[in-house]
Symmetry: C2
Amino acid sequence: MLSKNQIKLIKSLKNKKQRHLNKMFIVEGKKSVSEFINSKYDLHKLFSINISDFNLTNTVQISESELSKISFLTNPKDHLAIFTIPIEKPVNENKLLVGLESINDPGNLGTIIRTCEWFGINDIICSVDSVDCYNPKVVQSAMGSLSRINITYLDLSNFLKSKSIIKYGTFIKGESIFENKIIVDKGILVFGNEANGISDNLRSILDVELTIPRFNSENYPESLNLSNSVGIILSEFSRKFNEKKNL
Amino acid sequence: MLSKNQIKLIKSLKNKKQRHLNKMFIVEGKKSVSEFINSKYDLHKLFSINISDFNLTNTVQISESELSKISFLTNPKDHLAIFTIPIEKPVNENKLLVGLESINDPGNLGTIIRTCEWFGINDIICSVDSVDCYNPKVVQSAMGSLSRINITYLDLSNFLKSKSIIKYGTFIKGESIFENKIIVDKGILVFGNEANGISDNLRSILDVELTIPRFNSENYPESLNLSNSVGIILSEFSRKFNEKKNL
């Protein structure tokens, strides 16, 4: 049974300010909830139409119609959990990092988190104006990977200036990722906003300007989807790094 | 000024059956509308808050509030156009094809269309139960690329059986795309449904089972986002093909 205060709290967590004031966010669906339970994240409360799935003490049994009242999904699932937003961990600069400037679309950020985990990235660094990683749509599209990837919001320009690691940026024009021969196991790969790319300010701090070559003779499309670009570049970096390791 | 019948027609085009009965679909936003006008597609009618942008005869000047009534977008833009659904063109089997089985998510299909164009794919073949490429969300996320890519809906299993081209499928486990040395300029790359992958029926027809290797020591995430997988594999095929061409 849901209390009015619980409904009010959950609904408020759709809002970024409320999430960070309460230090709480929502995860939905058995699979994702289970991955967060098995991670560094602390469960605050679980609302479940099937409490035997987890058998935890801080669980509230709810009905399907109660779930549909509180769910952020078009098709509510079985479980809705409130987790505590943890304190940010320090960035591990001895591995390859992904930096995101002013990323806007929650679905993109979620997919990028999932893809980063696939390619062994542990840290994603976002400029402070980027979409919040605890936004329900980010959590949803990251499909559990958010529970294992460290995401840090900071002044990206200051961070880049203060670090003596190699800084790659991705642009519509630049050196082909296939022709760039530098093979690194540390450094940062920076991606810009969906519509505007990397800002001039950030661009001036970067060491290498990379591009994914277009394999057609037209000038279309103008760009690739942001999360697709991240996937393609991480894949190419991983391929080269692995080939070097096996030499 | 919008007529009641026009509003009714436009709203009906959110529905797949109505789109195909009327042989019409909606494109929104100056950039996309302009790309469709400059393509093989026939403009049926343009509804515009700024008719001087295009200066076409079959344009209806509308107000911003009228646009917000008919737009499928959360943030309506400037133009909404009705285009005619063309007759499907024959598939060009002498180039690399992309095949999609039971693809479900309109955003994924749109992104795949855009990414396919980037990598020079001309034909995408979808199983008949795949999401309709004239779905407004597909048109939106394809960002104009739909106007230049040929999409054919057919019985994918029969198509594959009847063609003597090399058939690649993409799976969670298979031969690494980086280790597979076959370099082709024709053939078909098949991708399965977002949740279930390629069906057993289709799998039995394929020649090569490929995978994108996971570059971490965990079993997470279980999979990559579908459009990201398409991007990574097309990128790797293009890289190899280009290296061979330059030898």
